[in-house]
């Protein structure tokens, strides 16, 4: 071979060597890429699984959160928790136990899930027997020592050897201290096999715990509040009844106050009607005697005797006086009738319907009732409308006026005049009740309608009179104004809407 040819071969050989080496490098490069790709794929898988895990955990947490807040009662929250936890951890049977410091069960709930009913029943039986064999003191102590989720051997908290549930995870849900009683609520997740325990998921569970505790505490507080509300409502009911009784008593009190006067008022006519009747009995006796000849000898012969008797027995006077006596008796009884009628409207209170009534009439009736009180040292001056119709309740309004009149009288211990005026002012019917009494001290004016406010000695007034009057007037949509000047007198100005 020529040198030139040899050279050429050498060049080619070197070129070939380089090409081979370059190919080798390329192949190695390819292998590296492939390996990297594979590793990346594995990494991707891991990341995807991680993401899926996190997604499950997140959906567990958010689901639990959302549902927990929406549950109406503590029991429902716990039930939801057991159900969700069971689905999330997929394996365990769940128990919820509430224990107090005496290790008594407050309550408990089971939860298990399975596709077949027989398996569910079987598991429920197992849960029940586990609960029966539970060493409550031990469990309570454990919960006192450790406030966080813990994994323990089931035998540690059991009185008997457990061969079905080997492990349990205890999730303390809440601790409640009520007076001297302490209560702990714990979820117990029971596992047959340690392999089933997923630590990551348990960590998620643990992280849901604080939120759940808050929710449970809130719910507890809410339930307590609810209970307090019920108690309050009951108290309120009692108060309302008491108030009703007091209102009744106030009416009785004013009735009692009036009774003496009314009795006098009735007694008077009854007294003179009685004496009238006595006199009438004597007159009848005299008339009988004077007419006796007619009975003995019914003929014209008795006429002289009769005319004699006519003069002797003063029959003309008897007849004349009898007319007088009968007239005054009727009048007396009419008065009794009127008083009794007024009294009966006053005592009739059950009606709450507003109806057209005549204020003038009501004022007159009320004045009748109290007139006896004003008989000696007091005067009453009235300036009333012929009639003034408003919507109201006669008996109640009567109570208001009687109360105002009686107050006025009491304010004028030394005597004085009560002025009662009733007049129209545009669409209003105004009633002014004015006395010449000692007046109300300025600082007391805003208190006079306050229940139980009284300046009277204990036992003399309930302090309800004006407050009841005020509420009655409010019921009548009436406005009240009080004008008072010490030692000059007090005036109540009441305005009603006229009813057309």
């Amino acid at each position: 071979m020529s040198e030139e040819a040899q050279n050429k071969v050498d060049v080619l050989e070197r070129a070939l060597k380089r090409e081979r080496a370059a190919r080798k490098l390329a192949e190695m490069q390819l292998e590296n890429y492939t390996r990297e790709l594979l590793e990346q794929e594995v990494l991707n898988d891991e990341t995807r699984m991680e993401v899926e895990n996190q997604q499950t955990q997140l959906s567990f947490l958010t689901g639990l959160l959302a549902e927990t807040w929406s549950k109406p009662t503590l029991n429902k929250i716990v039930e939801n928790y057991l159900e969700r936890t069971c689905a999330f951890l997929s394996k365990p049977d769940n128990l919820f136990i509430e224990l107090d410091n005496q290790c008594n069960y407050g309550q408990f709930q089971y939860y298990t899930q399975s596709s077949t009913e027989s398996e569910i029943n079987e598991h429920l039986q197992l849960l029940k027997s586990f609960l029966a064999q539970l060493d409550r003191e031990k469990l309570y102590d454990l919960l006192q020592q450790e406030q966080e989720t813990q994994l323990i051997d089931t035998n540690e908290i059991s009185n008997e050897t457990q061969d079905f549930y080997q492990f349990c995870v205890m999730v303390p849900l809440y601790t409640l201290a009520l007076e001297d009683k302490k209560t702990v609520g714990v979820a117990v997740l029971l596992y047959q096999d340690q392999q089933d325990i997923n630590i990551t998921k348990l960590q998620t569970l643990e992280s849901s715990r604080s939120m759940l505790s808050i929710a449970i505490e809130r719910k507890r507080a809410e339930e307590e509040l609810q209970q307090q509300l019920i108690n309050l409502e009951e108290t309120n009911k009692v108060l309302e009844q008491t108030q009703l009784q007091l209102v009744g008593q106030e009416k009785l009190a004013s009735l009692g106050f009036l009774a003496a006067g009314v009795a006098h008022e009735i007694n008077n006519p009854v007294g003179f009607v009685l004496s009238n009747l006595d006199t009438m009995a004597d007159y009848i006796k005299d008339i009988k005697s004077a007419l006796q000849p007619l009975a003995d000898e019914p003929s014209s012969t008795s006429l002289p005797q009769l005319s004699k008797n006519y003069e002797e027995y003063e029959l003309p006077f008897l007849f004349e006086d009898s007319d007088e006596i009968l007239k005054s008796s009727v009048e007396g009884l009419e008065r009794v009738k009127a008083i009794v009628a007024d009294l009966s409207t006053f005592s009739r209170m059950e009606n709450d319907e507003l109806e057209p009534i005549d204020v003038t009439k009501v004022i007159n009736k009320s004045l009748n009732m109290v007139s006896n009180e004003f008989k000696y040292k007091h005067h009453i001056e009235t300036d009333l409308l012929e009639s003034a119709t408003i919507l109201g309740i006669e008996s109640k309004l009567q109570q208001v006026f009687i109360n105002l009149f009686v107050n006025a009288k009491q304010a004028m211990a030394e005597g004085g005049t009560l002025y009662v005026r009733c007049y129209r002012e545009r669409t209003k019917i105004m009633v002014r009740v004015k006395d010449e009494g000692k007046g109300i001290p300025h600082e007391n004016i805003k208190e006079i309608f306050t229940p139980f406010f009284t300046t009277k000695a204990p036992g003399e007034g309930t302090g309800l009179g004006l407050s009841i009057s005020y509420s009655i007037l409010q019921q009548h949509n009436a406005k009240v104004e009080v004008l008072s000047e010490p030692n000059k007198g007090t005036e109540f100005v009441i305005s009603f809407f006229e009813f057309f």
Binding site: N7, K8, V11, R14, A15, R18, A21, A22, R23, L25
Partner: protein, 180 residues
């Protein structure tokens, strides 16, 4: 610099000067890679400069001419690897605009470690385009050759000059492309 450029350079030398010319160069320079170039592997830039310097001396031509001629050749090797959108470019102008905005972006996706020159575009009109070249390698003349190769590919005539050049101490090379 990627092995593919060395492969192209080898092909360029062997085509124009024969197998021995490449082999002699390798025997003379004793490069770290021993002349074993695989397209996807990155090699030290100094190898490229050594090779270029060697041939400039051996052939007695200025580096700018050699690089420009190689650039034209290199274009024909790179064009088949370009993204299809670039291949379908309607004109040389449009294509040149895609170099920085599309082609280099795609190259970066495949070779994240590649050290590509940067182009800015200025004074764009139908007749004229300024491509501002910036690279620590200062291979502006190779770019000129690539532009010429592209012009040939699109069947257009251009004249190329540089108003500023890194080799003249400027901040960047301003390659003025005039479309004739």
């Amino acid at each position: 610099m990627k092995g593919s450029v060395f492969n192209a350079l080898q092909e360029f030398v062997e085509t124009n000067h024969g197998l021995e010319a490449w082999d002699t160069m390798l025997n003379t320079l004793d490069l770290p890679s021993q002349g074993i170039y695989t397209s996807s592997i990155k090699y030290d830039d100094s190898e490229m400069f050594s090779i270029v310097t060697y041939y400039c001396e051996a052939l007695n031509v200025p580096a700018s001419d050699l690089l420009r001629t190689f650039g034209e050749f290199l274009f024909s090797k790179l064009m088949p690897m370009a993204p299809s959108e670039a291949k379908k470019a309607p004109s040389l102008h449009a294509f040149l605009y895609m170099v920085d905005n599309l082609i280099h972006v795609e190259v970066k996706k495949i070779y994240a470690d590649s050290n590509l020159p940067e182009f800015d575009y200025k004074d764009q009109s139908d007749q004229h385009l300024t491509m501002i070249y910036n690279s620590e390698r200062k291979l502006c003349h190779l770019s000129e050759g690539l532009i010429l190769g592209a012009a040939k590919h699109f069947g257009e005539e251009v004249s190329i000059s540089q108003s500023k050049c890194l080799h003249e101490g400027d901040d960047a090379c301003h390659i003025e492309v005039r479309f004739l």
